[in-house]
Symmetry: C2
Subunit: 209 residues, 2 copies
């Protein structure tokens, strides 16, 4: 991409194509947060994004493609992990990030919508799995370094430690409706750290501690 005088705002990295994508994905996220997958209409997204319908239909084609690209973008844009030097500190930072995201009205509604979409659309489900795979890969070194420091037992499934932080927060979002507050984040981090220390996530033959 190069800038041109006919392309205002082209100093933004990526140029026109990237700007169009950013506007369309923002609009798609707004539409999903407001009305769920049922409310995701390509013509409506084009109107919200102030982008030509033809561009949106040609580039994304279907609502499922749009959801998949939105999840890919969310994975690319998501924050790098925090390093605090202790397992509990790192897991607490991760828990707070997940909790703030899910407690945010727009983001929480957006995650509900894409998870609901994934229950009935294989493409959305695959995109969702890739999103969590990216996030787990980003945060997994917290647990790996804790094993290296001797904070966690050898053989710990470090990816499972990271998933254990998210699970109770998503469970609240999707099923029980308990509040997604700071106390929930703290509890998720403390519980995951305690379970990991007790060897609950050791890969071979998990046993009662």
């Amino acid at each position: 991409m190069t800038s041109s005088s006919a392309d205002p705002g082209s100093l933004r990295p990526g140029g026109r194509t990237a700007r169009v994508r950013a506007a369309v994905l923002q609009a798609a996220g707004d539409a999903l947060a407001e009305g769920g997958l049922a409310g995701l209409d390509l013509a409506d997204v084009a109107r919200r994004a102030e982008v030509g319908r033809t561009t949106v239909y040609r580039r994304w084609g279907t609502p499922a493609n749009l959801v998949a690209d939105l999840l890919a973008d969310m994975a690319e844009q998501s924050l790098p992990r925090t390093e605090t030097g202790t397992l509990l500190g790192d897991l607490r930072a991760n828990a707070r990030l997940v909790q703030r995201t899910l407690a945010d009205p727009r983001q929480g509604a957006l995650f509900k919508a894409v998870i609901a979409a994934a229950t009935c659309d294989d493409q959305a489900a695959a995109a969702l799995r890739r999103f969590y795979d990216t996030r787990v890969t980003e945060w997994e070194p917290c647990a790996r370094q804790a094993v290296e420091r001797g904070e966690l037992p050898a053989g710990t499934d470090t990816r499972e430690v990271v998933r254990a932080v998210s699970a109770p927060l998503y469970y609240r979002l999707l099923t029980t409706g308990e509040p997604l507050d700071e106390a929930a984040a703290e509890r998720a981090a403390v519980a995951a750290a305690a379970a990991a220390r007790a060897g609950a996530f050791v890969s071979e033959a998990p046993e009662a501690p």
Copy 2:
């Protein structure tokens, strides 16, 4: 309800009204498992259940009402808790029950469908919360008795211990797509027991163990 010779099968408890409800809810569950909420159509459910359309429309009215009644029935029909005498034994039994339910093709698809419905329908969300509330109330004594036996610290939020067993299993079902196997159930039980023993679910001021 009383039986009559004009009412074949009326020896089944509850009589005709209960039989109609059972047939309609079975058909609604089948339709949800096959096609999700979008595939839930009252006329189709009446046809599957071999019940008059008018009966289904008059008694349930909308797909959301049908989902809510299905969840109420699932809560009523769900199995009583297991008592093994130890916290880990009880949580393991709970984890295996949840895991087998979610790993079953029809039941897993049904849970995905009702959870997806709950993301965009307040009535379904309220019914889903009542379902989990009933299940947690059924299993909470496992943790309460563990507190009484001195296996868990005083002040433990016993309902949260039960939710901690389910959370990683639902997280697999809905987001990451990791297998819902016996090892996942064992890990969920061991992790919840370890976290609870370490005091992660003590209500007042959860602290790092």
